[in-house]
């Protein structure tokens, strides 16, 4: 049983302040394990309410080129799932609710071969909880295929953040939100991650359809790259989820972490102002 705060507490706080929460994403191990910790701390410090730590994965079907490039750099740097846990631990220590976002196989395979009979899922949940993690976002696991994870998350009192999409039927949205804990992740465009210049007009109706089924906060990804877009989304959503733009800030400063961190801070502040402007 974890005693880590659920992400929902951060959404509650934001709602109490009459604004949306800012959810920031960065892959663990990018630009290095230590660097990712440092960077995320800057994001927390400059206004992110919730942190998503990505686990880099060899076959990221949902990621756009920006995040994939960062994840690949992390993989080439030798990132391991145990490193992810270390990053979670360091970030959670700041007090910001910290969730992991990962493709499914590293979870299922956590701790080695399934042929040994051990359940990677159970072990992953236990280790995540003891590292201070709030839960897991599972981009390629839907509740109907997620029985084992749901059981383990419930066992360890972890957030289960599943995704809804513009193409989801009402039935599926209801089924998905019923299985969620923490918040619901609304993917705002039919497409992949990546910063865009205008936000999707698919997002608002999706949030509305989602809210019909749940009282959980609804965060909206993907494609936000500045405070104005954040403000726009914050006008109808409970959380604004930003990923590629953070990654880009660091990618734009190769071999210059201080420069990257400065850019990251400026971007976070712009976005944090945005979610307060709505």
């Amino acid at each position: 049983m974890s005693t880590n705060p659920s992400t929902s507490t951060a959404f509650d706080t934001a709602r109490a302040e009459g604004r949306a929460a800012l959810v920031g994403y960065l892959p663990a191990g990018f630009p290095s394990v230590e660097g990712s910790v440092e960077a995320i701390k800057v994001m927390v410090d400059a206004g992110c309410d919730v942190i998503e730590i990505g686990m880099p994965y060899s076959d990221p079907v949902m990621d756009g080129p920006t995040i994939q490039a960062a994840a690949q750099q992390a993989l080439e740097g030798g990132i391991r799932t145990t490193d992810l846990m270390r990053v979670v631990e360091a970030v959670a220590a700041t007090g910001a609710p910290t969730v992991v976002m990962t493709y499914w196989n590293p979870v299922e395979h956590y701790g080695g071969s399934r042929r040994t009979g051990r359940s990677g899922v159970e072990l992953f949940a236990a280790d995540l909880a003891s590292a201070g993690g709030a839960g897991l976002i599972t981009p390629d696991l839907t509740p109907d295929a997620g029985g084992e994870w749901i059981a383990a998350a419930d066992e360890h009192d972890l957030d289960k953040v599943f995704l809804v999409a513009p193409s989801s039927t009402p039935e599926r949205i209801a089924m998905t939100t019923a299985a969620c804990r923490g918040f619901v992740y609304a993917t705002a465009v039919m497409g992949v991650t990546g910063a865009r210049t205008t936000t999707s007009d698919l997002a608002a109706p999706l949030v509305a359809r989602t809210r019909e089924t749940t009282d959980l906060p609804v965060g909206v990804g993907l494609g936000v790259s500045n405070g104005d877009q954040a403000a726009e989304i914050a006008s109808y959503a409970d959380g604004v989820i930003v990923g590629s733009a953070f990654v880009r800030a660091l990618l734009d400063h190769p071999d210059d972490l201080p420069g990257g961190l400065r850019a990251l801070r400026a971007l976070t502040e712009d976005l944090a102002a945005g979610v307060r402007r709505a």
């Binding site: 060899s58 079907v61 071969s113 399934r114 042929r115 390629d140 839907t142 999409a165 993917t187 039919m190």
Partner: protein, 430 residues
């Protein structure tokens, strides 16, 4: 096909074979598309008109039924009756045309004007471009940038056939990155687009759907064997990459308990070297490209690179129905090394005048071993059907390198690659 029965070998509603294998580990954004596809496929397979239209195209355009050929000289050598299912004679030279024609016909039925596909060495890309040309569909093929450079001939084929080829620069710029990129395209374009998946892997319904479109291989072979020899084969054999040709052959025989079923996986340099793609034999359970199956992966569940001389088998996953068949023992899967496959390629070429695809040469090697054993046990009427999934023309560059033909300026006056000796031990100039 119309009389496919729901048997203990079928996947359940969620796409799981035997509860554990397959399923659909996919972004929610694609679930509606996969559901739509599942419905359309179920509906089509139950519609005699669709089934008839598919069979007609296979017959009148692709050349089905492919021959079941009695390889008499090979049979004499191994002491058993060796029958080759000649998918190499299909239009475009492999079993793959069946799958793409089925999926393209379904696309047309669904009213979508565009198809996308991933391709590794280019075989499935060429097949998809062919089917798209046939049905007048717009076609985009994703192909790793490394592969577009290695396989310029296949890129040219796709261009001639009217397809767009998009070189994928991300990741390792090979097959799995092309799959990722194609899935991304699909997420953003599902309304207009069908994704023609190249093998019997991936999320539900692909493993079952691709099997339904390739199962003509086995349905035909079973009937041909009965018609021509009055018996069922004692064993059947196929190579297993993603598993489409194998499952296409196996499906018809699953309920024939007397028939041994053998899949042969790419053993690369030898499983013990770690440089192989023998996913079932030496991989570990995991989730890859939307299905739970056997995967070549490291301790953290990161996919590791596979190795095979055969581009078409060089895939770190495998179709989930094969994982299931292996797990329940209905089929056995064994590795065949690069060297064994190339020997089999030379043997078949020289003995029967048929140059097989290197993929298929894996099945030839493995199938002949099975035939030898069964011949010894049961006599020369023991019958083994081997799926000759494709022709070897595409593989001549590899064969030239492997057998040391080397410099075309120094062509030799003697045949090379004597199957009785280690081909690499020979001097090409001899």
């Amino acid at each position: 096909m119309s009389d496919t029965q729901v048997s203990r070998y079928e996947a359940d509603e969620l796409g799981f074979f035997g509860e554990d294998w397959g399923g659909r580990f996919m972004p929610e954004a694609l679930v509606a598309a996969l559901d739509e596809l599942t419905d359309a496929w179920r509906d089509a397979m139950a519609d005699p008109e669709f089934v008839a239209a598919f069979e007609k195209i296979c017959r009148e355009y692709a050349g089905a039924p492919s021959l079941l050929y009695h390889a008499e000289r090979l049979s004499a050598q191994v002491g058993a009756r060796v029958l080759l299912k000649r998918e190499d004679l299909n239009h475009t030279g492999a079993h793959k045309i069946r799958n793409v024609l089925g999926q393209a016909l379904l696309t047309q039925r669904m009213g979508k004007p565009r198809v996308i596909a991933e391709t590794g060495a280019g075989q499935h890309g060429v097949a998809s471009a062919t089917a798209a040309a046939y049905f007048g569909l717009d076609c985009t093929v994703y192909m790793g940038a490394v592969d577009t450079r290695r396989q310029a001939l296949n890129v040219a084929r796709m261009h001639l056939l009217g397809a767009k080829v998009i070189p994928v620069e991300s990741g390792s710029a090979t097959l799995k990155d092309a799959i990722n990129e194609a899935l991304r395209d699909w997420v953003a374009s599902v309304d207009q687009t069908a994704y023609l998946f190249g093998t019997a892997a991936g999320p539900h319904p692909f493993p079952s759907m691709v099997r339904d479109f390739t199962r003509g291989i086995g349905d035909e072979a079973r009937q041909q064997c009965l018609d021509q020899y009055g018996v069922l084969p004692d064993a059947i054999a196929a190579c297993v990459g993603g598993g489409s040709n194998a499952i296409g052959l196996f499906a018809a025989f699953l309920d024939d308990d007397s028939v041994e079923i053998h899949g042969f996986e790419p053993g690369g340099d030898g499983v013990e070297t770690g440089r192989h793609a023998a996913t079932i034999h030496a991989g570990d359970t995991g989730v890859l490209h939307g299905a739970r199956t056997y995967v070549l992966q490291d301790e953290d569940g990161q996919t590791v690179e596979s190795h095979s001389i055969s581009a078409g088998l060089d895939y770190p996953g495998v179709g989930p129905q094969h994982a299931h068949l292996a797990a329940i023992g209905r089929a056995t899967y064994a590795p065949v090394t690069d060297a064994q496959a190339m020997d089999a390629l030379a043997l078949l070429s020289r003995t029967e005048g048929i140059i097989p695809a290197i993929e298929s040469a894996h099945a030839i090697h493995g199938g002949l071993e099975v035939a030898r054993r069964l011949g010894a046990e049961r006599g020369p009427d023991a019958t083994v059907v081997i799926n000759l999934s494709g022709r070897g023309d595409k593989d001549m560059g590899t064969a030239i390198e492997w057998f040391g033909l080397g410099d075309p300026d120094k062509v030799t006056a003697e045949p090379v690659g004597d199957p009785d000796t280690d081909p690499r031990a020979e001097d090409a100039e001899a």
